[in-house]
Assembly symmetry: C2
Homo-oligomer: 356 residues x 2
């Protein structure tokens, strides 16, 4: 983590040095950054995530139309450096307001968010690295020992079974070192109800698992955390969502990322497995289900053509959705009582996953 921070600071400083250097040699300062236009976003089969292509754009203070975004970008780099050095965290919204303290002008938050993404792709670090966090927070529970790296808590350790409602995944946890665990797998669930159910039924003990509640679409910090649990602790990851196109996509984004984070690495977990609830589970387990909507069908057609959905399992399940035209929620298993999902479905599915 320290190494990462040093690299980031070096990257920010060299951006500053480059600009000063250009001024010293009497050249209009400029930067080059990878283009994020759709034509430059490609699905990388080897990395199994979206990445940016070779196209670059030049932003120069020589061009009067560039001066505004150029200045905004340099200011954002300055602020990132400030946040890191002061050990403070902030949000996208905050940065938009902060700019006014410096007489840097953004017409709306969309514009300042965009510049933050420019900075991410320029210095190749994510905004979480320079302490900009989203509001949403998800939770984790299980026998993992972590060591904080944030000021005031630096060096302190915590075991993530400390609080039975789950431990919040916020700035402090995302940046912590993982010290040790006896867990053998990570199970991510979309719904809070399922997370609490798993916790109460001792899934973390019975399956030696770390449990993660994504709270819907997993925030980037949480995806980074899942990535790290796989990479650093060598844990296989299983993702468990509602049986509808939106639940499917929550799993998919954890596995292979989103197009608008194509300029970033370390957010995906290509080896993670989508282990339910599948469309085929609806008939197999006679789950209470609802009719699929027009919007769901439209979404399915999009997913069908998405390169991330090319593998057999995904295509098969999209087909089942289209055939049965039903969808179901994780909680649907409660029709068999509160514990069926843990006593039967989960062990059976984890066993099945060995052949996927």
């Amino acid at each position: 983590m320290k190494v990462r921070k040093e690299k980031l600071i070096k990257s920010l400083l060299s951006l500053g040095e480059e600009i000063y250097g250009q001024i010293d040699s009497q050249v209009f300062p400029s930067v080059e950054l990878p283009s994020r236009s759709t034509s430059n976003i490609k699905y990388d089969e080897k990395l199994r995530q979206y990445v940016l292509g070779e196209k670059c754009i030049k932003r120069t203070s020589r061009n009067v139309r560039h001066i505004r975004p150029f200045t905004q970008l340099v200011w954002m780099g300055y602020m990132a450096n400030q946040l890191i050095n002061q050990g403070k965290t902030s949000t996208l919204r905050d940065m938009y307001y902060m700019a006014q303290a410096y007489d840097v002008n953004f017409k709306d938050q969309a514009e300042s968010d965009d510049i933050i993404t420019d900075l991410e792709s320029l210095i190749e670090f994510s905004r979480e690295d320079f302490h900009l966090f989203p509001e949403e927070r998800s939770a984790i529970y299980g026998n993992l020992n972590i060591e904080y790296t944030v000021p005031k808590y630096e060096g302190k350790r915590l075991n993530l079974t400390v609080h039975p409602d789950g431990v919040m995944i916020g700035p402090a946890l995302t940046s912590a070192e993982f010290v040790s665990t006896d867990a053998e797998i990570v199970i991510c669930v979309e719904k809070g109800a399922m997370f609490t159910r798993f916790l109460e039924e001792d899934v973390h003990k019975k399956f030696k698992a770390l449990l993660i509640h994504t709270a819907g679409q997993a925030p980037r910090g949480t995806r980074h955390m899942i990535h790290r649990l796989h990479e650093e602790m060598n844990l296989p990851v299983y993702v468990f969502c509602d049986a509808d196109p939106w639940g499917m996509h929550i799993a998919q984004v954890i596995i292979s990322g989103s197009a608008n984070a194509a300029h970033l690495k370390d957010l995906t977990s290509p080896d993670a497995k989508w282990c339910g609830v599948w469309a085929s589970d609806i008939t197999r387990y006679k789950l209470p289900s609802e009719k699929i909507t027009e919007l769901d069908l439209k979404r399915l057609r999009e997913l069908e053509r998405d390169p991330r959905y090319r593998e057999e399992l995904w295509q098969r399940e999209i087909k089942v959705f289209n055939d049965i035209k039903r969808k179901a929620e994780q909680e649907a298993f409660s029709r068999y009582g509160l514990t069926k999902i843990v006593d039967e479905y989960l062990p059976h599915r984890l066993d099945e996953m060995k052949s996927y």
Copy 2:
């Protein structure tokens, strides 16, 4: 907490006994519960919250139209008792699905939610008491020592500064005993960004405060927690939201409750103070602001006539909103740098609040 649990079980058992008693004496079993129709919801000036009036409805198995809701209600009472005895928690959604395991028929979740509310008003305990929790979770941070009462953690203690991202307010925390604190006030904030800011700036130390992140409208569990911090630990409560009609109402619901929880006590904190961001702060502090929308104005007109908004401060601020036609967010203070809100606004406002 134990006493409360015993009372609840007694209340459920006496419901069962009553029904058995009626059957034994060859009477069609029936229950009487307070009416929750709007005409029976009144604002109680003394309690400073909405309460149900005297009107009751009788639900009897003698009436063929009543058999369905009567059976559903009795089943729900049975399930509540099960959850308590097994020490398991569940959600509104789960209960809807669970019913199918018992061949109890609900046409949709709205119907089962409604029966849960009936049960609440019949036995005069809230669904959280019989272990039904919502998905949303908010967080708390500060020097409060709690002791868990949930199974597996019973008797274990936790200090709520243990995790610098905040401690989740879920079933386990809501039902915990408060052991000790050196805090002198409770500060509730609407936004996560503000919560993190306060925490990083040591507001909990500087102002001897417990910090609560409501995450928008405070869930009932969180409101109950705030109520208990005031009642049991004798702490004054300050609520701090966005300067718009919706932020205002988040504060108001913490203070005097919502109409649809009129059948419940112990969710309100009538002595809590709304301490900003006020409409008048927008001009006073020259905050970056946005134009108020038609929807905001409509909402203001509703609030103006609401009995909970009768006090001078609220009426004054509604007037200011209508005059300046601007609104602002908590984060707007960032225009003066990240710490201005903690260094100047907060101490000044807390001081001012003495005269409200």
